[in-house]
């Protein structure tokens, strides 16, 4: 009512590229008492050796378990005693980091981030401690129907050894297999400033932020850092390929079905997103939710999501249903895939989704980490600092024909991956 919409743009986002390759973006927010730091380095699971799935993830988790200067307890004592946080986690292409602190503690947070990136020590006892924690977590995942169905789904969609088929955290047998030397070797080869991006948002002056990064990371070099590997093409599915896992003792079955979708920079990215929004997001999970949940009362959740990034991420529908309802749910979802690929969406549906995409920006950009996430995307995909100012026009330009073409481009009601994990259904009715 009194505050105008002030989208981040070239007038208040400051960008600087350091000589060693690090790109820094800053947006000041003096309404906040804290600062968010986030970004990534180019060392994700794409670099996992095939026999060592989960290595990139393991290395990322090790960075805050001891450096040349500080042991595990002193690192975390500093973080926790000032109420700060810092985490690393591996994605497929890169290792992301996210931290925040009160403004007064920002130099300390920056110093710790730089130390973790440049001088991790990989203490042998910490390697073993983490290994035990990861094995426990992986065993728990093996009892999680949604996790298992998602893993099977990836194995079907990204066949023939495509790196997207691998579980990010590896498997029990791979995590128990790698040595500390392999952990150190991975770090030495892949961690470096090339293609590193870092965003700071909050109560910090842009010049101060740039100086902090230059002081702490300006001298970082790693001449051995390889170029990112080229992704092989994803083989096209030509039929419904189904895999099922039985997990005894479960009450519900999880269904994951779908295909490989667009990458972020695909020409039809925005149209595909709007198709997905209409299919399984808007309101109570879009058209799929309206049928599976609202009309048939079969599921608490049944939605679709599209996860494209640097490469073609999955476009999938997820539903959790009673084991007796699996086949009917699949059939109804398949019917919705058919409808969205055969008929244009209605003008009302399209207007609803487009208005939502445009109208939700103030909510998404309310917090420091919301702004940081938007800036990271802008840098990753080279969208331009004025992207958010152009965004509404880009959305408004999409037509129902564009949405239909994008849905047809990727989805096919007769060719998709279907993964199911749940209790034994051989004795179930239906």
């Amino acid at each position: 009512m009194t505050t105008s919409v002030a989208l981040p743009g070239p007038h208040d986002v400051f960008r600087r590229a350091l000589p060693n390759g690090i790109v820094v973006l800053v947006r000041e927010n003096w309404n906040s008492k804290s600062v968010v730091i986030s970004g990534w380095v180019d060392a994700g699971s794409l670099f996992d050796p095939p026999e060592h799935e989960g290595l990139a993830s393991f290395v990322a988790e090790m960075l805050l378990r001891g450096t040349q200067q500080r042991d595990f307890q002193s690192i975390h004592e500093w973080l926790e005693s000032c109420g700060a946080s810092l985490d690393f986690s591996a994605g497929r292409h890169s290792v992301g980091f996210a931290g925040r602190s009160l403004a007064e503690d920002l130099p300390g947070l920056m110093s710790l981030l730089a130390e973790a990136l440049q001088q991790p020590a990989f203490p042998p006892e910490q390697v073993e401690r983490l290994r035990g924690q990861m094995v426990t977590a992986l065993k728990i995942h093996e009892q999680d129907t949604e996790y298992v169905a998602s893993r099977l789904f990836r194995e079907i969609v990204y066949r023939d050894g495509h790196p997207y088929s691998r579980p990010l955290d590896g498997k029990v047998e791979t995590v128990t297999g790698f040595t500390r030397e392999q952990v150190v070797e991975f770090y030495q080869k892949h961690y470096g400033p090339r293609r590193m991006t870092m965003v700071m948002v909050g109560a910090v002056r842009a010049e101060t932020a740039f100086h902090l990064v230059e002081d702490y990371l300006g001298d970082w070099k790693n001449p051995t850092q390889p170029e990112p590997p080229t992704l092989p093409p994803v083989p096209l599915l030509t039929a419904i390929e189904r895999r099922e896992a039985v997990l005894p003792g479960k009450s519900q079955a999880d269904i994951v079905l779908g295909v490989s979708g667009p990458a972020r920079l695909a020409a039809d990215w925005v149209a595909a997103n709007l198709a997905n929004h209409i299919l399984g997001v808007f309101g109570m999970y879009g058209r799929i939710g309206a049928r599976v949940r609202e009309q048939l009362g079969m599921a608490y959740y049944s939605y679709s999501r599209l996860d494209g990034g640097l490469g073609p991420g999955p476009w999938r529908v997820v539903a959790g249903v009673n084991p007796a309802n699996v086949e009917q749910a699949v059939s109804v979802i398949r019917g919705e895939l058919r409808r969205i690929t055969e008929e244009p969406v209605t003008e009302e549906e399209l207007e609803n989704s487009k208005s939502n995409y445009i109208g939700r920006l103030p909510l998404q950009l309310e917090s420091n980490d919301g702004v940081a996430g938007a800036l990271l995307n802008i840098e990753r995909y080279q969208l331009g600092l004025d992207y958010l100012l152009r965004y509404a026009d880009e959305i408004r330009g999409v037509t129902a024909e564009d949405v239909l073409a994008a849905a047809r481009h990727y989805l096919n009601p007769d060719a998709f991956a279907l993964a199911i994990a749940g209790p034994d259904r051989s004795g179930a009715s239906g």
Binding site: F72, R129, E366
Partner: protein, 434 residues
């Protein structure tokens, strides 16, 4: 301190509706919350899960707004809305671009009294909620929490799961639901909160225009089933399919309005790591229990929690046993650590750390209007929104001696319930009533 810039104003409409307003002009958004003083705490055997089900039915339409149209109205302007049911409350919210906030008030005023509870919609929602419960049942820890809480509370309704027992989800009727709705959904049993980009006088007039005409209802029945004292430790083993063991310990804890609550909150921080209204984004790797359980490689994770409740609830500790270790080893190490704290081994530096952590969590929490509005509504339901506003002052006022005494008073074996989840391969089920 949290209240240095306090701009909360509290109003009570003639019909009894409590209204809390706080202007925040950092972004053009407003969060609107409606909290009703009803949750699983108000439920009786045979009707468990009814508050949560009523919450679902409020999304199924009124004569003015049919089911589904509200989704479109809110989402097409970029707003979000949702609801939650807990032990002590049921709450609904809309967070909207500021210029559209009146829509939220119109929707909430309408469904306070006009929800349809169409019989067909009730039946469809029955299976949705059963599915929600079945989804939770897929997690081993759901069974552990359910059994342990049921054992910890024999008389008080905290005994029941919020989602409800399966038997009741199958038998609750449309009339049961509607009666529950009419008993508890009244302006004199509700708290309305707006936080965000508005001018207080304007917003108050808007609230008055949408809610002022709604008649108050009879005062809902009080909860009378107080939990009697506990005489001795209670234990339960849950044996089900799984790949990991868990240890859960719940100590009887005071209500949020008891001065001891803040003392025990500091004990929680020392033992299991920071938490405060606004978030839990700080790690707990320097907490006593992490050092005693995870660093010793007995456990893969540990967490603790002291829930701010209307009636006395639990201070709980949850441990995931590390692969290859046994719950007995974890329990012994946990007990040794808790007993050190109960014996008074706490230092001033640990309390200073806990207070600074709370200050940081508060600063992070104020970045979003949705969270702020939630906490104002939530704590007004406990006693007063000042519980939230003065949280840091409450912590500052606690002395080391207070904390030592609270640890001694509450961390007693005779006052706790212990549950172990034991993973097994072949479960023998008798009765087959699932």
């Amino acid at each position: 301190m949290a209240n240095e810039n306090s701009q909360v104003s509290r109003h009570v409409l003639d019909n009894g509706l409590i209204v809390l307003l706080k202007e925040v002009h950092t972004a053009p958004v407003i969060s609107w919350w409606m909290l009703y003083r009803v949750g699983s705490r108000n439920e009786t055997t045979g009707k468990t899960g009814i508050s949560h089900w009523v919450e679902h039915m409020l999304f199924k339409g009124t004569d003015r707004f049919s089911a589904g149209t509200v989704d479109s109205l809110i989402e097409r302007v970029g707003g979000v809305w949702n609801a939650q049911t807990s032990y002590d409350y049921t709450a609904f919210f809309e967070t909207m671009p500021a210029e559209h906030i009146e829509l939220a008030l119109a929707i909430e005023a309408d469904r306070m009294t006009n929800a349809r509870f169409d019989p067909q919609e009730v039946e469809k929602e029955r299976t949705v909620i059963i599915s929600e419960r079945e989804g939770s049942e897929n997690s081993p820890t759901f069974w552990l929490y359910e059994e342990t809480r049921a054992l910890a509370f024999r008389v008080h309704p905290y005994h029941h799961p919020i989602i409800g027992d399966m038997a009741d989800l199958r038998t609750i009727t449309r009339d049961d639901l509607y009666q529950h709705y009419r008993t508890y959904y009244n302006p004199n049993n509700a708290i309305a909160v707006a936080v965000g980009d508005f001018e207080t006088g304007t917003m108050l007039r808007l609230v008055e225009s949408h809610f002022g005409h709604i008649s108050p209802g009879p005062q809902p029945p009080p909860v009378t089933r107080t939990e009697p004292p506990q005489y001795g430790e209670r234990t339960v083993r849950v044996e089900r399919e799984g790949n990991a063991a868990y240890v859960f310990v719940g100590y009887r804890a005071p209500a949020a309005t008891d001065p001891d609550w803040f003392r025990l909150a500091l004990v929680d921080s020392v033992l299991a790591g920071a938490s405060a209204p606004g978030g839990n984004g700080i790690g707990n790797r320097t907490s006593r229990l992490y050092k005693a359980l995870v660093e010793t490689e007995l456990a893969s994770s540990v967490s603790g929690g002291l829930y701010p409740s209307v009636d006395p609830y639990l201070f709980s500790i949850m441990v995931t046993v590390r692969d290859g270790r046994r719950p007995e080893e974890v329990q012994a190490a946990l007990d040794a650590e808790v007993e050190r704290v109960a014996a008074g081994e706490i230092g001033e530096a640990e309390l200073d750390k806990a207070r600074k952590q709370a200050r940081a969590l508060f600063a992070y929490g104020t970045e979003r209007v949705t969270g702020q509005a939630f906490w104002l509504a939530f704590t007004e339901n406990l006693s007063s929104y000042t519980w939230y506003e003065n949280y840091l002052d409450h912590l500052a006022a606690v002395t080391l001696e207070d904390v030592r005494q609270a640890a001694q008073r509450y961390l007693r074996r005779s006052q706790r319930t212990v549950g172990w989840f034991i993973p097994v391969q072949d479960v023998v089920q008798e009765g087959g009533a699932r």
